[in-house]
Amino acid sequence: MNRAQQTRAAGPSLAVEIAGLHLKNPVMPASGTFGYGEEYAPFFNLDELGAIITKGLSLRPKAGNPTPRIAETTSGMLNAIGLQNVGIDAFMRDKMPFLRQFHTPVIVNFFGNTLDEYGEMARRLADLPEVAAAELNISCPNVKAGGIVFGTDPGAAAEVVALVRRHLRQPLIVKLTPNVTDITVMARAVEEAGADAISCINTLTGMAVDIRTRRPRLANLTGGLSGPAIRPLAVRMVYQVVRTVKVPVIGVGGIMRAEDALEFLIAGARAVQVGTANFVDPGAMPAIIAGLEKYCREQGVTDINQVIGSLKTEG
């Protein structure tokens, strides 16, 4: 059997590399939509995933916002969870042991309430060999102290990224907020400050009103919009960022099906994250992975990397 035959028999390769991390395929959950992994383990083997990203963690446990915390909108949902999480210690004690059974790299999404906390978290994460990479959330629009300042100001973003980069051992993925005038400015700032990869986008700040009670539908008044409604915005921003920076970009926002993931990959994303779709269908990610493989076959592509960035923009 020669090389070409082998490839054909084995099916197309979906493996990608992000900042030194080898992923068996480019599909991973978006932070905050997959709990700590465990919650979705009954539905499929977590080893099928390219990586696992945790709910955003902080130094100390965090309570989050009052309820209602979620509201459905047309083809989207608003959430104002408020970054509720068990804290890094409880995560390592109670959640990590479960994840250790799998061979899929675990990426910890994290945030701090102050610059110091960000630095402290980075130091803690550096000591944890099970943590394959860290995703820095500088973009959560829900919590006043939880990133809004860092994520929308290039100077502040660069400062926190540089600090975290100094302390972290693992690859650093920085997650950008879409709530900015020019996402390329932010992308450039975090790349220069040491980001090894960029994920975008986080949610867009939105609001909904219950016209019967005339109250906001979220206790927090505003929340983050996610789901298929935001996909065209996410694809645009990913495309812009890909053309701006050299580090790999992970596309997030409204991916429900393989076709959606492919829009991001063709636009240049090296990998994708799937968020809200997990709620709609716990089997969304395995279906997307299967769909990518099918697409490669149909397009006669042996390696998904041939699809990445293959957008034809002129006539």
Binding site: F43, T67, R69, E72, S75, I81, N278, V280
Partner: protein, 292 residues
């Protein structure tokens, strides 16, 4: 944990979907595995269409499960699950127009159900559509002793499935705000009277938050054990999104304690909850003015 491993996302079909009272429907869905896995008080998340609208699944209590008899062609019997729902918004409006043979996806059985206590008297309190999770509970409790159902609603249309409870051997006490069926008045008044006679009872309740709060007050004052089934806005139904949390008894602003309604509930012992923080997700049974 063993509970989790039984969770499935079933792409399945509707067996029947009928209006049982004005605005209330009963849907029977083909559901392999549900008879053995579903426990009283659990729920499922239903997805109507394959499209993007409505985006999120809708949570519904499991009314009951059962077997379709083996058919004449010798095919084996099939398991089904039944839900009972009130048409309130976009999702349930789509649901009511579905027919036998139409496809739906159901995720479940989800959550923690009722703990069956060994009390000498078992009292179930249902408000409107809140009676749903009490049926499977009743079916199990009648094996242990005497079971009473106190069923309240705004009017006769809100009183569902009472004869089915009676067929199980449950004694039923119906009350409506307008007196159009059973006694005129609040279900909580009936509860007070019952507990006077049966101070040893255990109470299981589901209904609007205002009713549950009143039931809690009544039971707490008499030291009667109470379990309640709650509703909350849900996105995932499996504990992943943290959208459905409810404040636990220990909850303070400084030391927050949140419980997931989908995973640690929907059934809670009354003592687990911080009652004054409890919110009404929305008036679904038409009787949220029930607070006495």
């Amino acid at each position: 944990m063993e509970q989790d491993l039984l969770m499935t996302n079933l792409k399945t079909t509707i067996l029947s979907n009928q209006e049982v009272a004005p605005g209330y429907f009963r849907m029977r869905i083909l559901a392999p595995g549900f008879v053995t896995s579903a426990r009283p008080g659990q729920f499922l998340m239903l997805r109507v269409l394959d499209g993007m609208e409505p985006l999120l699944r809708r949570p519904f209590g499991i009314f009951r499960t059962g077997w379709l008899p083996a058919d004449c062609q010798g095919l084996p019997p099939k398991e089904y699950v039944e839900i009972l729902y009130k048409v309130v918004g976009s999702g349930t409006t789509l649901m009511k127009d579905l027919h036998q043979g139409d496809g739906v996806e159901i995720l479940g059985p989800l959550g923690k159900g009722f703990e069956l206590l060994d009390a000498p008297e078992q009292i179930l309190v249902g408000g409107g559509i809140g009676l749903v999770p009490l049926f499977m509970l009743a079916a199990q409790l009648v094996k242990r002793g005497r079971v009473r159902l106190l069923m309240g609603g705004r009017c006769r249309d809100d009183i569902l499935a009472v004869t089915e409870f009676e067929r199980l051997g449950v004694e039923t006490y119906v009350s409506t705000d307008d007196g159009s069926l059973g006694e005129a008045g609040l279900v909580t008044e009936v509860l007070v009277r019952q507990l006077e006679r049966l101070p040893q009872a255990a109470v299981y309740a589901c209904g609007p938050t205002a009713m549950l709060r009143a039931v809690h007050g009544i039971c707490a004052a008499r030291d009667v054990p109470l379990q309640v089934s709650l509703e909350a806005y849900m996105a995932c139904g499996v504990g992943a999104c943290l959208g459905c949390v409810v404040a636990g008894a220990e909850h303070t602003e400084q030391n927050p304690q949140y419980l997931c309604t989908c995973k640690e509930g929907p059934v809670f012992r009354a003592g687990q909850l911080l009652w004054h923080k409890l919110e009404e997700p929305r008036d679904v049974c038409g009787c949220n003015e029930e607070e006495p």
